[in-house]
């Protein structure tokens, strides 16, 4: 081991320590620039989650109950889409929204709205695929009883969504985590414009490339703390509600 290696490693340890200090400082002083980035991150990812849930959950429920030719192919495609790389999702939305693209006249490129769309497109398949999996078990249990009541597949969809609400909470959290963590899509369609489309992940990428590792790490810690807090909150709500509903 050479001297420079050792230096380098102790430098990394110092980075980590100072990152914690920086993160605490950012939170303690409520650094306005950082807060704005943080809030935009939350706003974009939560909005994208809501949009994706509106489409993804009913689609997942429908796939759980419906039997049609080609269903297997749809499921395979959906599962594959779960692994859609964020940059590819970003690129597709970029092509749609760019000035020459079909939605170009809307002028949405490099706005938070474009970022919402990109993240929603990214996570909708995840929500659909996971909720399909979760609700299929429930449907197996309910199918005969609901058919006896005269409820067809269409009527079963809202029933499954409601009765599976606690399991679906976990699905939503998975979607939120994916949206909040991705950087490729928002970078491409948002452009990381300071004070306008800069979010946590793009800020981290920027600080890393500028070499300000402590700041990048501090932002990373902050992002993780936020995701953790959202999960804890959702879990708490879920437990409380499940306690009442059985």
């Amino acid at each position: 081991m050479t001297a420079s290696d050792t230096n380098c490693q102790s430098g990394r340890v110092q980075d980590l320590a100072s990152a914690f200090a920086t993160a605490l400082g950012l939170v303690a002083t409520a650094d306005p620039a950082v807060m704005r980035i943080l809030l935009l991150s939350l706003r974009v990812s939560l909005t994208a989650l809501a949009l994706a849930a509106l489409v993804g959950l009913p689609l997942g429920a429908l796939l759980a109950v419906a039997r049609f030719p080609g269903r297997q192919a749809v499921l395979v495609a959906l599962n594959a889409l779960m692994g859609l790389p964020p940059v590819v999702a970003g690129l597709l939305i970029y092509l749609l929204l760019s000035r020459a693209g079909p939605l170009g006249p809307l002028g949405l490129l490099f706005t938070p709205t474009a970022m919402v769309i990109a993240q929603a497109v990214l996570i909708a398949p995840i929500l659909a695929a996971l909720s399909r999996q979760v609700l299929e078990g429930l449907w197996e249990e309910y199918a005969e009883q609901l058919r006896s009541f005269g409820a067809g597949p269409w009527r079963a969809v809202p029933t499954l969504l409601w009765d599976g609400r606690f399991a679906l909470m976990t699905v939503l959290l998975a979607g939120f985590g994916r949206a909040a963590a991705e950087v490729g899509a928002v970078m491409i369609v948002g452009g990381n414009i300071e004070g306008f489309t800069r979010v946590m992940t793009t800020a981290i990428a920027l600080e890393t490339s500028k070499g300000d590792l402590p700041l990048a790490l501090a932002l990373g810690l902050l992002l993780m703390a936020i995701v953790l807090a959202v999960n804890a909150l959702a879990q708490g709500l879920r437990e409380a509600a499940a306690e009442r509903a059985g």
Partner: protein, 281 residues
């Protein structure tokens, strides 16, 4: 019909009152205003009844297994028809076929009217309760049938009172005991006011008092014109409830006999052995 301690007083009073009301073909008619369910002819009043039910040459195969073979019978309006037979005889499968949850491999199931599907209900051997409150469970099929929220709730509450669950209305249904779940499922099926009610071992996990309570409800439903088609392993219960007995053995219908004659001495050797407790499968 005898009063028992186990049936909640309120429920019993209603049962008795409804029982002896003239022309009381309607179940649950505790509110004076006619309900939309009647208007939508979910119940058979006025239109042609869905009985008699004729079953001809009914076969059901699951893979290589022949579950039912050449089963034929006719169910007429009237007292409860009890389907009895050893485990695995095909009783549950038969009820599922009649309720159109399974498709026969061969044979025919002919109802009196084409819209028979909407005018029957079934209580499953293992009841499936929704992940909702007791009250919401009872109201669910009523909402499906087109009732408004308030009316469905009111009717569901009344129905819960009948099975002695009104005190548990707001509890999560899945936290009920097995017997309570069974009674809830019965209340939920009865709330639909079906013309034909299939009951697959409705008392399988009930204590003696609850069993009696359920039997009285079944009798009250039957007295008001609901055709009961029910399976049971409790021969005493079959004796108490049956107007006629259909004896199934290894997927074959060995006899369809009026209850009195069946219990005095069945025609088939298998049924005689079954009554003596000597017939295994």
């Amino acid at each position: 019909m005898r009063a028992t301690e186990s049936l909640p007083r309120k429920g019993l009073r209603h049962v008795m009152a409804d029982l002896f009301r003239p022309g009381g073909a309607r179940i649950l008619a505790r509110t004076p205003d006619p309900s939309p369910i009647h208007g939508r002819s979910r119940i058979g009043a006025g239109t042609g009844g869905i009985l008699p039910l004729r079953v001809e040459g009914l076969c059901y195969r699951a893979g290589a297994v022949e579950v039912l073979r050449e089963v034929g019978f006719t169910l007429e309006k009237g007292g409860p028809s009890l389907i009895i037979g050893p485990n695995g005889a095909g009783k549950s499968v038969l009820l599922r076929l009649l309720h159109r949850l399974l498709r026969p491999s061969a044979g025919q199931i002919l109802w009196g009217t084409p819209e028979a599907a909407r005018r029957q209900a079934m209580l499953f051997q293992r009841p499936v309760l929704l992940r909702r409150s007791v009250l919401a469970n009872a109201a669910y099929p009523l909402r499906l049938a087109g009732l408004g929220r308030a009316e469905a709730m009111a009717r569901a509450r009344a129905e819960l009172a009948q099975v002695g669950l009104d005190g548990l209305a707001d509890r999560p249904a899945r936290r009920l005991s097995g017997g309570e779940q069974q009674r809830l499922a019965l209340a939920r099926a009865a709330a639909l006011q079906p013309e034909v009610l299939f009951l697959d071992e409705p008392c399988a996990s009930l204590d003696p008092a609850a069993t009696r309570a359920v039997e009285e409800i079944v009798q009250a439903l039957a007295a008001r014109g609901t055709k009961i088609v029910m399976t049971t392993h409790d021969l005493g219960q079959a004796r108490r409830l049956a107007a006629e007995v259909l004896f199934l053995h290894r997927g074959r219908l060995l006899e369809q006999t009026p209850a009195a004659r069946f219990f005095a001495g069945p025609e088939s050797a298998e049924a005689r052995a079954f009554l003596r407790g000597e017939l295994l499968w």
